[in-house]
Amino acid sequence: MEITFAVLLWGVRIAFLVLLYLFLIRVFSSLQRSLATENAVAARPIGIAHLVVQRTVRGAHRVGDRLPLRAVNALGRDAGNDIVINDEAASARHALVEFAEGEWWVEDTGSTNGTVVNGEVVRSRERLHFGDELAIGRVALRLEQ
């Protein structure tokens, strides 16, 4: 009786360590899986859409430049953005242009001077159609195929 209890107890102790590692392995595999899916989504090419520069300032892009879009694009003056708008009137993190539910969307990410689509200030997140003109600072961009 005593012996079986001691043996069982050791079984439980060893099981604890084994379970700890199984848990850890599960955590790592979930981590790896979620990273893989997220990377796949972010890198997925979305048709062939571009932002074409309509109006610009010195030091920024040139008129007529075609900037290819990904699924999610950060726009702003900060070098970490996908599309860097080199204009003092643009905020460091100005806006997001993203492809979701089969549509293009623009979202103002707390810019100082606002994001303007076809002359109207973007309140939070709005649809962006092909041909729409997006103004960030003094730079204007048109969404094209």
């Binding site: 107890l9 050791w10 360590l17 848990f23 599960r26 989504v41 993190r93 990410t109």
Partner: protein
Amino acid sequence: MRAEATAPLGRARFTELSLLVWVAALAITGFVAVVATERSSFSPAALVVPLVFLVLMLALHVFLVSIRFRGDQLLLPIAAGLTAIGLVLVQRLASDLLFQQLSWSIIAAGAFAATIVVPRDLTALARFKWTWALLGVLLLIAPLLPVIGREINGARIWIKIGPGSFEPWEAVKILLVIFFAAYLEEYREVLSHSQRRIGPFPVPPVPYLVPIVAMWGMVMVFEKDMGATVLFFGLFLAMLFLATGEAFYAVIGLGLLILGGFVAYQLFGHVQARVDTWIRPFDEDLRFDTGFQLVQGLYALANGGLFGAGLGNGMPDRIPVVWSDFVFDAFAEEAGLAGALALLALYLVFVYRGMLIALRAPTMFLQLLAAGLSFIVALQTLVIVGGNLRLIPLTGITLPWRTAGHHSSRTGCSWDS
């Protein structure tokens, strides 16, 4: 992207649920091992506490599913796993504190739910940044007040209200992260894009430097508590560096910290004692004196070896105040190097996940918030585990068990917003 990225994992949060099942298995085996060793018999009554905890975690999971929360699915299980191991260790080392620990878990779970439901927009927190700063300072001073302050083991860092006592700086940390994030978001440009430069270093206008110097001054005042000093100042420097991208600030800040450490070593006897103990704990005059705790901790590690003495089978009672300062050594003795490494790996994933959330957060404030909260878990773990392993001088802070749940909530929350 946010919606799409989580969609393959399912709105049902299967990942989270399946990981919680592992946490449940872990918690129950841990309790069975510890209780059975202690009493040489086993009755199911001993499983009440872990079961209450597991039901709580399951309730949180159901809550997240029901509000269609799209945040991270790994943080809750990892925090739950760490808290479960924490509960097992409390049962092992100080079972009279078990209910207190459990009630902290319940409070943390409540706070978790509240942070998700209440502020629909976390950015609103930034508007009250001076309120948070003031509240933080008041909480820091509170233990020095006569009625509610308590001195435990020589450090006056506790408040006692009614039956419960707690260390206010557990809350101060979070308030400070919110304040720093809001402050740095606002003045980031001034601090990083300064026109005046001396050599490679930016020299921002003097008024903007005041809070940095004030922070340093404040930390120096509380210098008596080394662990808290390193945590607060380290957190501040990390967030300053993240916000400005200027290594200059980090270098200068580290210089100030080293200078402060040197001054503290000269001024305070207890700092000298800590450093001496760290450098030569085995010396004749220290081994049974100030070095006793550390030496016993090291013996515990040695006794543990690769796979440990078995949960419940070690001799953690040999280490004085083991339940507050040397939990890591106690765990390493009973679960071995293998168990200790797994534990550290869990902390690592937790912090990594938090940093990942920070990278993807939409605004500067939320980025700094998530990064700051993750960083403080990392730094706290580093300082205490390093102290227990005699890599750095020992300081009196605890492993972030109970706060883990709290952090995960905030970071998870900013991911969603």
